[in-house]
């Protein structure tokens, strides 16, 4: 409850963060209920291709005469699902690895950190492209796993250094003297204290995953089937949207959808940052 009231107080004072939060909420609602309200694929009519915006098609139509807005609404769900799943996987792996490594220390810490270093060094996006091109799937869970393959490492490092400093604090000492088992120590004692890192990395993880996911569809590395924003841009580009003016809405609408969401996430995450960071929480 304290968290909710803090968050609300910050949001009230930070207009950018408030707007960001509202936009993120709207996208989530659209992703959840959108596909039940809007359908894609039943009003194809080549006579309607590349229509300018109108009342029936507020963002115009694509090459097949389908409404661009309804495609954007339907395309929100696959993007958001993979983004949230990937961020959840990264956070889970990063937190567990970081806490265990930092708390247990010694040889375990050394080995885990060397492995983490490897994942930090290998460039993430090229590795994702390589794996995705061989696996070639649009299954959201598999895609999320592929997207998180290196992204957990940064969080694991940050959490580890937190765990290192928590290890010598009084409450951890007290818990250790009571003989609390490792699982309890990590889950009950350490985890609540790294909450800020987790929350912010979760939001930034979503933006990173969406960046890479849309990129995979843009380049045609993930299979082009169904509707999502990356596929829409990919199709618009391959139909020559760069060279004509009548498909501008078709090309730029999904791009705007992505940019608005990414920017909203970044501004919202700034509010979370100030909720958790008491030094920034002044007034």
């Amino acid at each position: 409850m304290r968290f909710a009231s803090d968050l609300w107080r910050i949001l009230r004072n930070d207009k950018g963060a408030l707007i960001g939060g509202i936009i993120v909420a709207i996208y989530c609602i659209v992703a959840i209920i959108g596909p039940w309200i809007v359908q894609v694929g039943n009003d194809q009519d080549p006579n309607n291709a590349y229509l300018p915006p109108s009342l029936t098609h507020p963002l115009g139509t694509d090459a097949l005469g389908e409404g661009v807005l309804s495609q954007i609404i339907v395309g929100a769900r696959p993007i958001m699902i993979v983004g949230v799943l990937a961020a959840a996987i990264q956070v889970a792996v990063g937190v567990i690895v970081g806490l265990v490594s930092g708390y247990v220390g010694g040889v375990v810490d050394g080995v885990i950190m060397r492995i983490t270093d490897v994942f930090l060094t290998i460039p993430g996006l090229p590795l994702v492209i390589v794996i995705a091109s061989v696996i070639h799937t649009s299954n959201p869970v598999v895609l999320a796993l592929v997207l998180s393959i290196t992204a957990w490492a940064g969080l694991a490092r940050a959490i580890r250094s937190q765990a290192l400093s928590l290890r010598s604090s009084d409450f951890v000492e007290a818990a250790r003297l009571q003989g609390v088992p490792l699982r309890n120590m990590i889950g009950r004692q350490l985890l609540p204290n790294v909450g800020p890192y987790v929350a912010i990395h979760f939001l930034l993880g979503i933006t990173g995953a969406i960046y890479a996911e849309v990129g995979l569809f843009l380049l045609g590395i993930a299979p082009i089937s169904g509707t999502n924003w990356g596929i829409m841009i990919n199709l618009a580009m391959s139909q020559g949207a760069l060279y004509t003016t009548d498909s501008a809405f078709y090309l730029f609408s999904p791009m705007a959808a992505i940019v608005i969401l990414q920017v909203a996430f970044v501004f919202f995450s700034r509010a979370l940052d100030s909720v958790f960071n008491p030094r920034l929480r002044v007034q």
């Binding site: 950018g16 990264q90 270093d117 490897v118 060094t121 290998i122 460039p123 993430g124 996006l125 090229p126 590795l127 994702v128 492209i129 390589v130 794996i131 091109s133 061989v134 696996i135 997207l147 992204a151 940064g154 969080l155 490092r157 940050a158 250094s161 937190q162 290192l164 400093s165 010598s168 912010i200 990395h201 930034l204 993880g205 933006t207 990173g208 995953a209 960046y211 890479a212 849309v214 990129g215 843009l218 380049l219 045609g220 590395i221 841009i233 580009m237 760069l242 060279y243 003016t245 501008a248 090309l251 791009m255 992505i258 940019v259 990414q262 920017v263 996430f265 970044v266 501004f267 700034r270």
Partner: protein, 359 residues
């Protein structure tokens, strides 16, 4: 110092080894892997004896499909470390290494120039935001910079292409230089080369200088509040000396670390930017080879991008002791390791790589 360098070099070699192994695994062991696919395809075509098929596969992937797995693995790794990565399927007349060697300078040119520009611009904006805290300039710039750093670079590339290459054809739509100049150290060639590099560089810089500015601002603000800065002020040191040696140098430290992290991100971004601008660098060839299912070239490009990132990281690591003398002195390093709490936490709070977590 020698131990420090040796450790870094060993780590770099281990990573190269892991990536080579991964590429063997990808080519040879994945279900439906390209090697067995090629084998099946050659058998379907007929007219070839099993030995000829094996020779062909061997020529392309550098691996004989029959024979024990460990032997295939050793051959592959051995060849890779001698610089033999096989031949591209789509163009067996040349070697993967030759294709990549041609492409690498273009990628390095654009990535290095963009990195330097966005680093300098970002540091300048970030430090002035920290100096003029709570001013209108700082507020507006914080907004602009957060906005720009949240936009994916491929979308900026598309917008630049649409506006500046097609709607108003000011810049070329693609290529590294125009067809009517002869490559060599002559003025038209260099001019054309720079002209073609402007849009790709712009796409990088627009999306990445914001991350530097935000990072620099955060770092400088935390240094401004430090005790030693107040101590220096009370000692009556000149404004200039404090800014340079006390604030400037210390707030640059985390930025230099970020440099290593962001190089990987820049090379990753080359995949999009070079594809859209048809810029003949490593990222362009990587996507080409993915689309043509040319796995030996694809893994070659990946290996090369990884090696470039490792080499740059090594360079930054070697640069680091110059900026932070504590690294080079074992005693200071020991002291830093013994007192992890606040120092480590402060250093790592900026650990979110520039441009999001896909670094």
């Amino acid at each position: 110092m020698a131990v420090y360098i040796a450790k870094r070099l060993a780590m770099a070699l281990v990573i190269v080894f892991i990536v080579v192994s991964l590429s063997f695994f990808m080519i040879r062991l994945m279900p439906g892997n390209p090697m067995s696919a090629l084998q099946a395809q050659l058998q379907m075509q007929g007219g070839l004896t099993p030995e000829q098929i094996q020779q062909k596969i061997n020529a392309i992937y550098g691996v004989t499909p029959t024979g024990p797995l460990w032997q295939q693995y050793l051959t592959y790794v051995g060849n890779a470390f001698q610089g033999d990565l096989g031949r591209p399927i789509t163009n067996p007349g040349t070697t993967v290494v030759a294709v990549i060697a041609q492409a690498l300078p273009w990628t390095i040119l654009v990535v290095a120039v963009s990195l330097v520009i966005s680093f300098l611009v970002g540091i300048a904006i970030g430090s002035s935001m920290a100096a003029l805290q709570n001013s209108r300039f700082a507020k507006v710039m914080t907004f602009v910079v957060s906005l720009l750093s949240a936009i994916p670079n491929y979308l900026v590339a598309i917008v630049l292409l649409y506006l500046l290459a097609n709607t108003w054809p000011i810049f070329p739509t693609g290529g590294a230089y125009s067809v009517d100049v002869t490559p060599g150290p002559n003025l038209p060639y260099v001019g054309s080369l720079l002209y073609h590099a402007i849009l790709p560089t712009a796409a990088y810089v627009i999306t990445s200088f914001g991350g530097w500015a935000l990072g620099m601002k955060g770092s400088a603000v935390s240094v401004l509040g430090a005790e030693y800065v107040r101590a220096a002020e009370s000692r009556g040191l000149s404004e200039r000396r404090i800014t340079r040696s006390y604030v400037g140098r210390n707030s640059m430290l985390p930025m230099i670390t970020q440099l290593a992290l962001s190089v990987g991100f820049m090379f990753g971004g080359s995949v999009f930017i070079e594809t859209y601008f048809q810029y003949p660098g490593v990222g362009y060839y990587m996507i080409q080879s993915v689309n043509q299912r040319d796995y030996s070239l694809m893994m070659g490009c990946f290996l090369l991008i990884t090696i470039s990132v490792i080499v740059t990281n090594l360079l930054v690591d070697l640069l680091y002791p110059l900026v932070d003398p504590r690294i080079a002195s074992p005693a200071a390093r020991k002291r830093a390791a013994d007192t992890p709490p606040s120092a480590a936490a402060a250093g790592d709070s900026g650990a979110v790589p520039v441009g999001g977590s896909m670094a």
